[in-house]
Symmetry: D2
Subunit: 309 residues, 4 copies
């Protein structure tokens, strides 16, 4: 058993015991029903060794983690023109704040707050039907994870579509400033569906590998994106990946990461590993509580912080 | 000549030619008088080799770069109790914004915006006379840089004291919420003076070494701070070190860094180098324009980004 | 010819000459097409004498002036329970700002900013079909103006429905906080349609009489609302009737008033007159430029300011 | 006994009984010591008849009510040039908010929030020594009230000077934008002192008469300000006189008024009366609770609302 495998198992065991589990997202019934006792951790290293701990193969709603992949896909399609629509600075606000949009005339601060991710989705949608755009996103995830069984949880998507008034407010607001090209309903439809993709920690860590290895899939050697683009996506994950808890995550964990309200976090140790962790209970900023705790332990024990050994 | 030395000289030469130099800070006459044509770059590696380029030994006003060192000093004195006074999230606002203070009841978002640095200065001051506190800060800089000639530019300090109304507003505002313990004038006096420390790129890169090498001085082997603390300070530099241009700096340069309106930037390549760059012209966010350009070139050519080789 | 008639004619003539006419609202083609050279003024005194000047019988889009009447109708239906949903303080922001909504958890500051008027419309809609609610509003206007020919301009309504993304943002935002009871589309549909009611100055001044005469129709003597309610609606018109130009209107005109982006203003001289003015060109706050100028002249010449003779 | 006298006595008696008295301002010890059981009411009509109720001759700290008189004085000195420094729109924020200042580059929204009153004080001070400026303000109050015994409570002034950090923040903030001409300490000194003027309800109602009677002193017939200026000051009192409770005061009382945290309110019934009320307990917006209740009863019983009989 490798050092990584040992640390992953240890942490999975420690997390199973902990009483502090945060609160499961309650805003849609499909998320609220998830058992808060679950915990999964998967680490895939540069040689494609997979270390698993806990509920590593249970699918969960990736929610905002999908924003990393839609950003990647959109950059591939429109290139740096994307940055005319969306900034890349931390927001200093909650994930669904509309205040910043008003002060900056409809331009979202970064692609990882909801408004920014909706604007990125709109770019992917342009020139396509919603169904096609969504198919492209899903196939991209399956390709990265090398797993064609990855699917959208339609019940989650439908529920978000029914209750996502705050996101509808953000989308309409940007539309009023011309930041969206497509009909608001189309863009929101694609957005709600890609947030509803269900993946396990194993699938997610597989999908994130290109960010750890300079844009390449380490098993096939194929380039997904250029090395510079992978670095830059990592940089945005570091500064903006955890909403208004991004500073805290950088301070404690020291890795680029992106969280979702389903309780998942994708973290990248550049050159070393792609990491996925899942624990459904959230902290006050909407990030997985034990997920962050586990990653803090992991980087400490393995000396993986990008800020020093 | 080492690879690092060669890259440093190349970049210094390239920068000398560039016509785009930004605008020299004009808010105090002492800074406005500086010749925008100057450029300095110093890189000190893990073996304490010093690579120099351009005006490496011309002292400049370090301004906000001093905040890295006052934060380090204050953490040494009061430990994590410091975080009760100051947060560690990016602000999403200009360096001197008071809006965030009002919404968060006088608690600054991080130690690198002006309000946060004033609150940190106040912690250093507690239990001391302003003159003593300032002496401690200066001696700490001299100790880190191994150079007892480092001094405060009294003309700059006096000028800031005369015109620093915005900082006085921030300090009084925090005082009204009980965030400062000492008389506002005392705290501001120490703050204006430590921002007015004059250092060359060489001195600054020397002073920053402990952040690159897990808290240790690589020549003496002496520990300045624990490794974890060094990592965490680097993390805050990455997320908050360039005000509302922090995301951009992470995206382009990929290193923890702290800028000052004097045109200096201290950047840290963990495990690899302590870097100081200086060019007096600033961009719209108040960060050295060519300083950032030079660091982007440096990390690219040497593969030093913390986000991937 | 009475003194009032003379002043009204004088002012209408003076306004016809003035070159400064503001800018016609351009956000929907139907409003942009209106001839900026038009000007109408109608004053109806306590004895129901009607003084007319200029284009007194040309119908225009009343837009936000409808908010006075929907507020009156909603107060009649739900009473002071309305104030649980909507405040009655000036907003200190533009008419379509969403910032205040975020800081006050979805509760609009007053019924005369867009968000507040949408919330009021939602209360009128509750328990009804959109078509019924809209019929009630239209019949109320016809009853007050004693003119059954008043109608909705369907082209304006359709255009606003197609392009009203900012209002859709406000409505969805409030919906996310539970401030709206009905489907967002229903509420917005009724809102866009009542803003698209077309009336002439004569019809508008007729409709406003109950506010000038303690809640009563001076010709029939019938009570529309209690005297106290009429006073209170006037108070809200004074403090909130002109968006972020309300202070200016009070300062210059000295009467309660409500403006619309169609260029109309309804003003009330309590005990003395109901006044309607119309000039399509707007000032920077979205209020009729010459409308305000005319009302300032009127109150000065007739000594009608509520702040002193 | 006149109708007014009877109403004044009734109300004074009713207020004495009420258990709901609000909370006495606690931020300086001098104000916190005041007995919350006190209540005074004075009404002076157009014939200079004085109706008194309760503690009509007990002096209290007029605090922000002084802003009405410094505005009048400053307008007399610099005329409408004053409005280049200060706006006249309601702020939509608490009395001591700094947020609006940041969004509007240091220009206060109106002369009755703290920032605006400090800017007005600065205009009065220009070209004078602080002692002279303060003497001018005090003499103006004595002249208006026809009572040379009116004085500054030095203990209150000293206490505010010691603890007024929030006001110091506002002043320094404006100074940084060039909105103040004089040294911050001078301007604040004069400001704190004129807020510390102590007056009884009788003295205050006397001083306010010129606002009720078109700018004239009704007993001497002398003009204090032009009629139009008096009307306009009344307009600003109506829209901005009670901070973020101005809409509520207009809605309930229906008179221009200005409150102070000492518990006093000056209210103006144009053409009818100058009114002063005092009860030290405050509501959540910092306005006298029973003062407002008493004025609501008064205007209702006497039919004095400016919004309808």
């Amino acid at each position: 058993m490798s050092a990584i495998e040992q640390v992953v198992r240890e942490i999975a065991e420690e997390m199973r015991e902990r009483p502090d589990r945060g609160d499961v997202a309650s805003y849609i019934p499909e998320l609220a029903r998830v058992d808060a006792g679950q915990f999964g951790l998967v680490v895939i290293d540069a040689d494609d060794n997979v270390a698993v701990g806990g509920d590593a193969d249970v699918p969960f709603s990736i929610q905002s983690i999908s924003k990393v992949f839609t950003l990647t896909l959109a950059l591939g399609r429109v290139g740096d023109r994307l940055w005319e629509r969306v900034g890349r600075e931390p927001s200093g606000s909650p994930f669904n704040s509309v205040v910043q949009l008003e002060y900056e005339r409809g331009r979202p601060r970064n692609p990882f707050i909801n408004a920014g991710a909706i604007a990125v989705t709109d770019l992917i949608l342009s020139g396509h039907q919603p169904r096609e755009a969504l198919g492209d996103i899903l196939r991209f995830m399956q390709f990265l994870a090398e797993d064609s069984s990855i699917a959208i949880d339609e019940a989650v998507a439908a529920s978000e579509q029914r209750t996502g008034f705050r996101n509808a407010a953000l989308a309409n607001y940007m539309k009023s400033f011309g930041v969206l090209d497509n009909p608001v309903d189309y863009t929101l439809g694609v957005y709600f569906h890609h947030c509803a993709i269900a993946m396990s920690c194993r699938q997610l860590a597989m999908a994130g590998r290109f960010l750890a290895y300079n844009g390449r899939n380490p098993s096939t050697g194929l380039s997904v994106v250029q090395a510079e683009r992978a670095r830059r996506i990592n940089a945005i994950m570091l500064t903006c990946g955890h909403y208004d808890g991004s500073g805290e995550f950088a301070y404690r964990v020291g890795l680029p990461g992106k969280s979702g309200v389903g309780g998942g976090i994708l973290a990248i140790a550049p050159g070393k590993a792609s990491i996925a962790v899942w624990s459904p209970g959230l902290d006050a900023n909407g990030n997985s509580h034990l997920g962050r705790v586990a990653l803090e332990a992991l980087t400490k024990r393995l000396g993986w912080s990008i800020f020093g050994a």
